[in-house]
């Protein structure tokens, strides 16, 4: 395998980055810019906002040429002396600019609500971010968590069932508890019974999918009132919620968005600024050394994986209590796996995981908006774009992202 830190690997990364950027620049200058006519109008505020902001009007053709020039500059720089140092940063900036240019191209001659899209981005990022956070918490103690998908699904199901009977708060609490239960089961299987971690995760996914689908087709189809939960409404935080553009994104949302933001902050603090977090990370990096120093490896893993399950259970409740109030079979639709990708993309760090989840959320909501703008690109390809982008980014980022050293390995106390 190639060591990305080595010179050859580095040089290749630089070359690839350069080629990608120049390729994008050519694509834009030749295909998108001549096609874009008129101004692209981005609405930055909504009719009854407290502090209205004028619309952002961009002349689409010239804008795309400028972006293409910037990309070409960044690409050519890769091949000049010292360019290698900035390869990843350039790629990141370049891709962001490319997305911007793409948006302008799609909006040319039309109007488009940027605020609305950012708000939708945050909403769609929530389950992915919470899934990724659950992954971070358990992988930091070296337990690979493939079961995120199952935990999300369990949370969604419990949220709907208990929420229908006991109201939203009760449903939420139950979803967290059931998520924690599956976290505990995962910990028991892999720590105490030393089952292969990936098998344990796959099994939990299968089990939860089977159980929830079974109950929903056997019971919910007959007793509909059991699957009719209340939905948490958005709560606007005074003043902050009125900030133009980003206000609605962060401060006019429901409890799940606030909860996700708080959890990311708390877990960052826990993992990197407390004694317990340090111990947890030690268990993930070198369990034998941690054990020698008197840290209880098994207990640390049990606690962290159970908490991870609770986080995922909370994220799962978003699907029912946070959006539609009703459970459908397999409604998580692979969000748990995307969360896993976000975790790696975010380098096993809670804030990174949130950022990665936002990228996925953005791609998700972008695809929906673009369908409304009627671009000539088939919607299937737009839907693919985030996944292709993930592959490119994960491939480009490797070497910078390192998993906890003991990740996936069972620990047997001597």
């Amino acid at each position: 395998m190639i060591n990305p830190q080595s010179d050859a690997g580095h040089r290749r990364q630089t070359t690839v980055t350069g080629i990608v950027l120049i390729g994008l620049a050519i694509l834009m200058a030749l295909l998108m810019a001549p096609d874009a006519a008129g101004n692209a109008t981005f609405r930055l505020s909504r009719p009854n906002d407290a502090w209205p902001v004028p619309n952002l009007v961009v002349p689409s053709g010239p804008f795309i040429y400028v972006i293409a020039a910037i990309l070409a500059f960044l690409g050519v720089r890769q091949f000049m002396r010292g360019g290698a140092r900035w390869a990843l940063l350039s790629l990141g900036i370049g891709l962001a600019f490319a997305v911007g240019a793409f948006l302008v191209w799609a909006t040319a001659g039309k109007a488009f609500s940027l605020t609305g899209m950012l708000q939708a981005t945050m909403v769609r990022a929530v389950p992915i971010a919470l899934g990724a956070l659950a992954g971070v918490l358990s992988e930091r103690v070296a337990v690979v968590n493939i079961a995120i998908e199952g935990m999300l699904l369990a949370g969604a199901f419990t949220g709907a069932l208990v929420g229908s009977l006991a109201g939203g708060i009760g449903g939420l609490a139950a979803a967290i508890a059931v998520g924690g239960l599956f976290g505990f089961i995962l910990a028991a299987l892999v720590v105490t019974y030393r089952m292969d971690q990936i098998i344990a995760g796959v099994v939990i996914n299968l089990f939860v999918l089977g159980l929830t689908s079974y109950v929903s087709s056997q019971v919910f189809s007959e007793y509909r009132h059991l699957n009719n939960a209340p939905v948490f409404r958005s709560v606007k935080i005074p003043i902050l919620g009125d900030i133009p553009v980003i206000g609605p994104m962060f401060f006019n949302q429901n409890v799940f968005v606030y909860g996700a933001l708080v959890m990311v902050a708390v877990s960052t603090y826990y993992l990197f600024y407390t004694r317990h977090g340090l111990r947890a990370r030690a268990v993930g990096e070198h369990p034998r050394a941690a054990d020698t120093l008197g840290i209880n490896v098994y207990r640390t893993r049990y606690i962290n994986v159970t908490v991870a399950g609770m986080v995922a259970g909370f994220g799962g409740a978003w699907f029912t209590l946070g959006s539609v109030g009703r459970f459908d079979e397999g409604m998580t639709g692979g969000r748990g796996f995307i969360g896993l990708a976000a975790m790696i993309f975010g380098r096993w760090h809670p804030v990174g995981a949130l950022a990665a989840a936002l990228v996925f959320g953005f791609a998700d909501s972008l695809q929906q908006k673009l369908a409304l703008l009627q671009t000539p690109i088939p919607s299937e390809f737009l839907a693919m774009a985030p996944y292709i982008a993930t592959i490119i980014v994960v491939a480009g980022l490797v070497g910078r992202a390192r998993a906890p050293a003991a990740d996936g390995k069972p620990y047997v106390k001597e």
């Binding site: 395998m1 990305p4 030393r194 796959v202 999918l209 993930t390 592959i391």
Partner: protein
């Protein structure tokens, strides 16, 4: 250890008491426990005891109780075994390939397109060609993930998940293209493959409704091929060496990059073949979601079969039987087929965690310090 057991069994050597425990007692306990817990689940959802009894009789009846049931079991097991073989081979090489689902989609699509594009060809050319197209498409699609892993180190779990999601969109797109879509249809559905491209049904002389098709021969051939490849060929040795200890393999002069791409390609070819098997043997055309989660079930099959070709066959047959029996259960007793998913998951838990089974049934085993 199980591996050695399998080898011993295959070579006709005597096996000891602990090995019998591993091979027979644990799986038996696993199945019984899973069925018991399944019954408890049914009780919990307010199903009375007689219905539970009827549903388990239907499960048995629908999986092995008649010629039709056996035919259904084999039909359901064939793609699971094919894809499971590929995944098992990947696991042996240290690759956790979650992408069988996407490879099935791409392989099936390629097989369908080849089938109806060359409809004029005679069956003995067209059928192998369609199968081959499916295998090649699956192999190419899987090697993307292999290449990414080898060239950049991108983890195959992520890239195969993404490739799965991409393949579903690709399928939707392809099915709406004029040259793939069935004439006169507005919904996404492909043209049907001609009879010459279909895997012939084996027992249509007995009863035209028996669905078991020539795909079972493909499965048998592939089991032998994979066994040979893994345990008798140089490439297979290199796969296993890279999986067991990548560092040592590299120092021994094995090109890990080439091995990764090759292992993914072979796994993809088998999954593609599973997709081709489905469209050419059962469905006759491609529809959205025709892969029906086979690629994910195949992960369980490969794990349950302990990544050994022979084990995969038995695991695939068990899952196929549960699938076929589950359908009967739904019809006869009105119990949702989703119960099968629960039972399957529980079986894997108990088989994959022998320590757990030993903890639950300590009297079933000779006491052994240290566990399995």
């Amino acid at each position: 250890m199980t591996d050695r057991t399998m080898q011993n069994l295959l070579q006709g050597k005597a096996i000891g008491r602990t090995e019998i425990e591993d091979m027979v007692v644990v799986p038996l306990f696993a199945v019984i426990m899973a069925l018991l817990l399944g019954a408890l689940t049914m009780l919990a959802t307010n199903i009375d005891l007689s219905t539970i009894g009827r549903s388990y009789i239907a499960l048995l009846d629908g999986s092995v109780g008649s010629l039709n049931a056996i035919s259904e079991t084999l039909t359901a097991a064939a793609p699971l075994i094919l894809a499971g073989l590929g995944l098992a081979l990947g696991f042996r090489a240290g690759l956790f390939n979650i992408g069988a689902e996407g490879q099935i989609v791409v392989g099936g699509l390629a097989a369908v397109v080849t089938g109806f594009s060359f409809a004029a060809l005679p069956s003995f050319v067209l059928l192998p060609m369609s199968l081959f197209a499916g295998a090649v498409a699956g192999a190419l699609y899987a090697s993307i993930a292999g290449w990414l892993r080898a060239a950049t180190g991108a983890h195959e779990v992520i890239s195969t998940i993404m490739l799965n999601l991409i393949s579903f969109r690709l399928l939707d797109y392809m099915l709406s293209l004029p040259f793939v879509q069935k004439e006169g249809r507005a919904d996404p559905i492909s043209k049907s493959v001609p009879d010459a491209a279909e895997l012939p049904r084996l027992l249509s002389a007995v009863d035209p409704n028996l669905r078991v098709h020539a795909g079972v021969f493909v499965v048998m051939i592939m089991v032998v091929v994979v066994y040979w490849l893994l345990f008798r060929s140089k490439l297979g040795f290199e796969f296993r060496a890279s999986g067991e200890n990548p560092k040592a393999a590299r120092f021994a002069g094995i090109h890990s990059g080439v091995i990764i791409v090759a292992a993914m390609a072979v796994a993809g070819a088998l999954a593609g073949l599973a997709g081709a098997n489905q469209v050419l043997g059962v469905l006759g055309r491609a529809t959205p979601g025709f892969s029906a989660g086979i690629g994910f079930d195949a992960i369980a099959v490969a794990l349950l079969g302990r990544s050994h070709p022979v084990g995969v066959v038995f695991a695939g047959l068990l899952f196929g039987a549960l699938e076929a029996g589950g359908r009967q259960m739904q019809v006869d007793a009105g119990v949702s087929i989703d119960l099968i998913g629960i039972i399957q998951a529980l079986i894997i838990v108990f088989i994959a965690a022998p320590l757990l089974v030993r903890a639950i049934f300590p009297w079933g085993f000779r006491h052994k310090k240290g566990g399995a």
